[in-house]
Symmetry: D2
């Protein structure tokens, strides 16, 4: 942490800051320039969490130099983590494809989809039972009934299942059914929910918030991990920008950045990122090439009658084509698919 | 709703769309131009919620022309709503000031603050018992203990109290203590939580999400109102942009826009919007001048030792000065303070 | 400037950085912590402009602590500047209103507007002769012919005139006619143009770029000032964000920030910021209240037939009402209008 | 174009709008619903460019349904364009790599770089002679001297050269030397400059503005094309968002969107998009995979002493590695490199 003092700061103000910091057991280094004076602070800055140094006389600003997340930080765990969802390993040598409908609509739809995606090469079945929708008048999901259909689809196909949870109540229900919890973009900073799933040992797919910085995202992962659950997989799904040609803007750079800052696996959701089916194929290829550990794709037996996100869902034949086209890219980056 | 067809669309595709729409009991109007063909749809578009017209052959895009929120819409309720928090009316002839510490730290702090803000002219006491913090290692709030101190402060001063809730559990606890629930920016699209407080009759202060459009914000209000609780007050608290000179960017235009689109009252939180104490005073004046119904300001007896948001909190003397300076502006816009 | 070293940096890397910095005549201060090592650099950092320290072994990142603009910086000129446009002082005790049509259309239109705005209380006449338009097929301005009409309007009313320039050629032409150059948002970083007008002594109204940070904006002012022309007035006109309810998002906080960081005057353009006539009145009041030195408003004798920006232009009667309503706000902040 | 009327609009207002539109030679289609009335307008809407229908009585808003660019629009030219820069074809079967230093520093640097990049597989040499820099105190470029070195490098290696131009004066000078003009992000809406290069027949590399929508970008291309110069290549180089972990946010989706909306070729600049050398390699692979026609990469013989953008420049050995690693990706998408 660096404390930048105001120009023309008086001697006493500098002394006060130094005394305060050292009284809390940290060390300081003073640099006095012609234009500016800075005080470097060395040691565990959490000891200063109750001091608002920014408000002390003569202080211009505080410049942090270390990240506040620890467990998610690559600096403290140099090896890439591999997260197991049943027998599927995410973050290892396999490029993992999660696929399925945005919303679970009925038993037939989900079973049919499960068989189709398995055949094409997907390893995990996704499906929404609790749907966060912008308008209260849109379809909100089948809840537990939907989870039962998902469990049945797993029974028939052997595919592990991932479902979004949106409240403690849904965690309690879903816990009995699912192999992986999904935290959606809107709940990325629902810290209460993060802590609750942090107390379980179920793997978690943590989507990036619409306007979350990478730093905030890793801090959200830290909320889960600091409660004991280390099985976190990140999912880039587009951020909100001024551009309206796509639903969101896929931040493809987030993948190498996360690989640089964290040991956690990261996958890409090209459907929510763009909102348009036609862009899912090229963006999936880009995701493989850039080094992601997998993708999550919306597949629906008949997108034209999907209750949610039809325009960004692939029909089974396009999904099969996608999987086939991804294979050689996957091989190029040294992963199986 | 308008359906824009692709250039060179074939006759049969146009017929299919028209048939589908009319089969659902709506009317269509066809406009055929040299370059483009459009189909206007007239009637209750919710009847089409299970059809993904965007995916039909020949369709280029759908252009919505009406808002999806009803109860929050000024078109369906032309009179400005006045929301009562105990005997304090928000949205009427009073410019309402809510003030208090970001986080409740102990009994003495909150009681002292309550007396100070009441003396200066505030009408409602704020204080956080459940604190959503970016890092899990920051102070998380006193929870029920804090609510008890708030209730005691109300007893001593007569000021109604507003507290943030972040989960069903905190709603159940806070329900017994507070006069107004606050939904924070991070939970604006925690739809489960919105529905739960929609089932109570406690007034709600709904903060705008970090990257929520005005449309999404009013839809979030609709979630609460559609469950029966019509007592919603909106709070603009800054949006996320590329500018880093302030913590967020106060979207001051949101006030006249909300006044144009909705009948709900709206207040401004200049502290979270900027993150810097020095800017609270000028932005509060701007808020009065632009037509807001009130402001929410962080006040702490000693910001330098505040456990949360010290840099953006006012000490009592600056708050008193602020209230005094706001009075003549308030009078100019025809409101008492 | 602070150099943050990587965790586990080796001794030799630290030495190399220190040697390089000191070889360029600057001083260093080393702080070695458990987790991190930082090197504070004291002295004129421009001496290091040819060294990419970020690329040296063991370096994690560079944290700048001082601004790169000097002449525009309040730290080096504590007194607020007053810029004179003929006899109108901007930045002093007067709240200055600039008004006129977006585009000059003909002699009658501009003369009529000039008389109307003068009567209502405006001090400076604006009008566009060179129009930057998103599409090449939109009206592009009358060029020199328009400037002649503006000069005639000045002759008749005594109002100084401000016109946008978009190229060296237009500067050379406009120089003979106008009292103040305007640099539009799209040209804020047209550095060639900035330097050219920096060589004149004509006052400049420098609009903020659509996505310019406050820091970049002050650096753009520095381009003009470093060539010799110190007569710069800033104009906040809205920034680009995700919100689509307004054309742009007025960053009202920019006014107190600029007052804090710079000695230059700043005005607000509420018309471009919102794009809607109905919001001009409340945002103008907010601009007075927040401490701006003036506003720039689009006025057209008949907005319904304006060739550019009709929807955000005021007719003369609404403009008169606006001026009358601004007066008491202006008095409250100690300014005449 | 669709005109949406206000709820409760009166008959006469509807008639007025219809009359105005039809008086200009266009046709209308009226749709009257329970909640809303809309008027579809069919025909050449440029005939209405002098009417501000938005301001007419009873009108709520105008919804455009067609794009304003024609020459750049895929709807009017279904075949992908191939742009020739000397004998290098962009947009065809070759994945084109442009490489070279951010700024030309001296003859030796540019000649050395040219040989190195040619050897590794680049087809076009880039180098900046006119540098737009945020601060006026940063290195501004060698201007004509630099262009001479570039020409010499072309003579030695046979590589065509591309250089940024920032003013009419630099266009006039560079015209004699370069094979392709580059318009930088800051000048994307410098319409005067666009028109000037539109009058030449030199190919143009048009970078996307920092906060330009795809629609604005294609309109900028239209400015060049409508003056006669059809040889435009687009370059995605990152947009400005709230994320600060990278210099800008690479909008990778822009590539399939442009391929969908326009026939012009598009390349990617991963260096400016991220600002960090370590991310150039993975983002280049993603660019190939997503379907771009090429990339532009900054290469410097010794980035540590580069006068501009050192931290995002590759040394020759890393560039060679990049080219080698891109080849198999390029083959996968059916392009040679």
């Amino acid at each position: 942490m660096i404390i930048v003092m105001k120009p023309n700061v008086i001697e006493q103000d500098i002394k006060n800051v130094i005394n305060l910091v050292e009284d809390h057991g940290l060390k300081t280094h003073l640099s006095t320039g012609d234009q500016i004076t800075i005080i470097g602070v060395v040691g565990d800055k959490s000891k200063l969490s109750k001091c608002n140094i920014e408000l002390m006389g003569g202080v211009e600003k505080i410049v942090p130099v270390t990240e506040s997340y620890k467990l998610a930080n690559k600096k403290f765990n140099m090896n890439s983590s591999i997260i197991k969802v049943r027998d599927v390993e995410i973050g290892g040598n396999k490029f993992v494809i999660m696929a399925g409908p945005c919303a679970i609509e009925n038993e037939k739809q989900i079973i049919e989809t499960a068989h189709a995606i398995k055949k094409s090469g997907a390893s995990i079945l996704r499906g929404g039972a609790y749907k966060p929708r912008t308008s209260p008048y849109s379809f909100q999901g089948l809840e537990e009934e939907g989870l039962k259909y998902m469990a049945k689809a797993r029974e028939e196909t052997g595919l592990p299942i991932v479902c979004e949870v949106t409240s403690l109540k849904s965690v309690e229900t879903a816990y009995k059914y699912v192999d992986m919890f999904q935290i959606g973009a809107r709940n990325m900073q629902n810290f209460y929910l993060l802590k609750e799933i942090g107390k379980t040992n179920t793997p978690v797919l943590l989507k990036r918030g619409l306007s979350a910085t990478i730093d905030e995202w890793l801090n959200a992962a830290e909320y889960i991990m600091s409660e004991g659950n280390k099985n976190v997989v990140l999912c880039e799904r587009g951020i909100r920008t001024f551009e309206t040609a796509t639903r969101n803007t896929l931040d493809i750079s987030a993948i190498p950045i996360i690989k640089h800052k964290s040991h956690l696996p990261i996958i890409v959701d090209p459907c929510h990122a763009t909102g348009k089916r036609a862009y899912v194929n090229p963006l999936s290829k880009a995701s493989v090439a850039v080094g992601a550990d997998g993708i999550m794709v919306e597949v629906h037996p008949n997108p034209a009658v999907a209750l949610s996100d039809g325009p960004q869902s692939l029909p089974p034949d396009e999904f099969e084509l996608l999987c086939n086209e991804l294979k050689p890219f996957s091989n190029l980056v040294g992963k199986t698919l």
